[in-house]
């Protein structure tokens, strides 16, 4: 709770929190805000925006409601982004902790695996993964996490290496604490904050990767996503640019919101450590 109050004191944190809270509410209440299947044909095709009050943002080539698409697309973007970030951080924490503790050969081996994943462009990896296994939400989440876990793993290892030499870890050893308890109680909680600050950046990257995948037609075809809406609008980009612009704006706002929040977190963390 204190963290959140501190977060609200920074302007970035407040703005980011506001944007994301709104988006989460939109995602949660999407069926209320815009009832029915967003992919159904709702009206005349290619209605211009701000003309028909029933379709404030117009309709696409098939007559689907753009506003409904954006509202329901929020769900996919946030869900995939957050799930992928959680998966990436969970994998990264485990690998980083193991590498930092084990040392020696195990650490070397794990670090080379991390190197390998950092060298391969994460989008290419996700693209290959989804193309081979097939497009569905869990596969997309896994594909994005696979390209994103290396950074948190590296950061966790660095944290563990530094914290492991602190006096309070020595003190815990002196009182005879078991190494597993030292790892969980003394080291992990203190290694966590910077890794969590990184999580916002991973969420933002995951949202963009998901949009890019669906833009290329590798998203789940049964749900509406901003990426697939932009791809759909590309065919009529000259005559109806708004079809691509509105989901694009939604994407930009979301990513900016996440970055602002992470900036705010970074500031509060820096403040609390001083």
């Amino acid at each position: 709770m204190r963290r959140i109050r501190n977060l609200m004191k920074t302007p970035e944190g407040m703005a980011g929190f506001g944007i994301l809270a709104t988006l989460i509410l939109v995602a949660l209440f999407a069926p209320v805000l815009s009832p029915g299947d967003p992919l159904r044909i709702a009206g005349d095709p290619l209605l211009a925006p701000f003309v028909d009050p029933a379709f404030p943002l117009g309709t696409d080539r098939l007559g689907r409601d753009v506003l409904a698409g954006i509202i329901h697309g929020t769900r996919t973007s946030l869900a995939v982004g957050i799930a992928a970030a959680i998966a990436a951080i969970a994998i990264g924490l485990c690998v980083g902790l193991a590498a930092g503790f084990a040392g020696g050969l195990v650490e070397e081996a794990l670090m080379r695996v991390i190197d390998a994943f950092q060298i391969v462009p994460s989008f290419l990896l996700a693209l290959a993964f989804v193309s081979v296994i097939g497009a569905s939400v869990p596969v997309v989440v896994l594909a994005i996490a696979l390209g994103a876990w290396a950074d948190p793993a590296r950061l966790t290892r660095a944290q563990v290496l530094s914290i492991r030499e602190r006096d309070y870890v020595a003190a815990a050893r002196v009182i005879g604490m078991h190494p597993v308890e030292i790892a969980w109680k003394e080291i992990l909680p203190n290694a966590l904050p910077p890794v969590l600050a990184l999580s916002a950046i991973i969420v933002a990257a995951a949202i963009l990767t998901e949009a890019a995948l669906s833009f290329l037609g590798l998203g789940d075809p049964n749900i509406v996503t901003w990426g697939s809406m932009i791809a759909e609008g590309r065919n009529v980009l000259r005559s109806s640019p708004s079809l691509s612009i509105f989901p694009g704006i939604a994407l930009v706002v979301t990513v900016i919101g996440v970055y602002l929040l992470s900036e705010g977190f970074g500031k509060t963390l820096a403040g609390s450590e001083a």
Binding site: Y168, A170, E186, N190
Partner: protein, 264 residues
């Protein structure tokens, strides 16, 4: 002998240079005695303390503690016997997990070594706090809410919680305000006499060691160059390292009061 260190050596290699942190150090410590270990920085005294606590490994030599080969212990057996040798650190900030509370700092050793049954733990914590001169109500405080001098009292309480026979104090009062330093030293001497705990008091400050030590050992460049009663070392130093350390503390030779009551 409670502690018998023989021919201990340790080398560090840093930046291509091979430095002898400890070079063939031998000393003994009977139960209940306070041995001051003094030396300029880099003389190897902290390395000796860390090897003693099994925080760093030694290259050669042996340590017998309470009659057992201390360096041969490992795993659960080592953790169990660690109760008998405790440490107080120099850095009053760094020696505690920033997330800890006073109760968890003192509760951990009590729990790990099962010193008292679980139901009596809060009372034992209160007793420990009162013994080091803090109100029992401090137990619920976060370690961040406690001042430097009070933290060092808590560190001492943590060290005596497991009922050790030896406490190693690594520059335990160097980071403290001078006005608090005297009180902490008084507390240490008091506890030491009351419980018969032996102390290895590592410091660069001869004035502090003179106030608490029975004997003083002087280290220089990883070697033990002099070991004698505190009075002898200060009044009649044999080594150039001891003379240099005494010269660095002029107030020592120009009339400090006699060291109180607990002479050997």
């Amino acid at each position: 002998m409670l502690l018998d260190i023989a021919n201990l050596s340790k080398r560090f290699s840093s930046g291509g240079r091979d430095v002898a942190a400890l070079n063939d150090v031998s000393l003994t410590l009977p139960p209940g005695e306070t041995l001051g270990l003094v030396g300029a920085s880099g003389s190897g005294k902290s390395t000796l303390a860390r090897i003693l606590l099994r925080l760093t490994s030694a290259d050669a030599g042996s340590i017998r503690f309470e009659g057992k080969d201390w360096l041969a212990l490992s795993g659960a057996e080592l953790r169990r016997r660690r109760a008998k040798m405790q440490m107080v650190f120099q850095d009053v900030l760094g020696a505690f997990n920033p997330r800890a509370t006073v109760a968890s700092v003192l509760g951990d050793p009590l729990r790990i070594h099962d010193i008292v049954p679980k139901v009596e733990r809060p009372r034992e914590i209160a007793t420990l706090l009162e013994r080091v001169g803090l109100p029992a109500s401090y137990a619920s405080r976060s370690i961040r809410e406690v001042s430097g001098g009070q933290r060092q009292r808590i560190a001492i309480a943590r060290a005596i919680a497991t009922r050790p026979s030896l406490i190693v104090l690594d520059e335990a009062v160097s980071a403290l305000d001078v006005s608090i330093r005297g009180k902490i030293l008084e507390l240490l001497v008091e506890l030491q006499q009351e419980r018969g705990i032996a102390c290895l008091f590592v410091s660069h400050d001869l004035a502090v060691l003179r106030a608490v030590s029975h004997r003083i050992a002087v280290m220089e460049a990883g070697r033990l160059v002099e070991i004698a009663s505190a009075r002898q070392v200060i009044e009649n130093p044999q080594s150039s390292a001891a003379r240099a350390l005494i010269a660095a503390v002029p107030r020592l030779v120009t009339g400090m009061p006699e060291r109180p009551h607990h002479d050997v």
